[in-house]
Symmetry: C2
Subunit: 107 residues, 2 copies
Amino acid sequence: MNLPRKSPCYAVIFTSTLADQNQGYDTMADRMQELAAQQPGYLGVESVRSPDGTGITISYWEDLSAIKAWKQNPEHLTAQELGKNQWYQNYSVEIARIESGYQFEQP
Amino acid sequence: MNLPRKSPCYAVIFTSTLADQNQGYDTMADRMQELAAQQPGYLGVESVRSPDGTGITISYWEDLSAIKAWKQNPEHLTAQELGKNQWYQNYSVEIARIESGYQFEQP
């Protein structure tokens, strides 16, 4: 967690269920996080996956154009195709505008 | 996953790390999901926790007033206090406006 982020900013909420056959997924997921962090307008990522294969990844961006550029990154496009063809049983993508936020840390 | 949701709508993104001592947490978390689903303006929830204790829960709501009412629900207020005092090592809360979304399901 890395609040306060610049606010307002934008988030891509990616909710997914992995397919049973997902060889190569972890490597690609790591690479995508590395690549996203190099994109202009990138503000951070939170990613959690449970043992049953469901996961939520939220990436944060300065504006919608940064999100669009990331979606069209050539290596990311390849990953998106592999995701549809091989790795994911299902997924959803939502674009959200972060309006406010706060955090708590145990003293 | 339950798209398309009504759009635009609002989401509460709750990212957390459980403390090592978290007795009673699972029961309360289940109860909170049950209670949230009875609130006016509730649209759904996605929740994932990894074995290392990090979790993301996203609840979806028709508008900001529904979120405010849920935050002030008496039983939820008790859970929030227990969360701060006992269960969470840290957490963040972000309020987001969902602008758009799409989903993919393996044929």
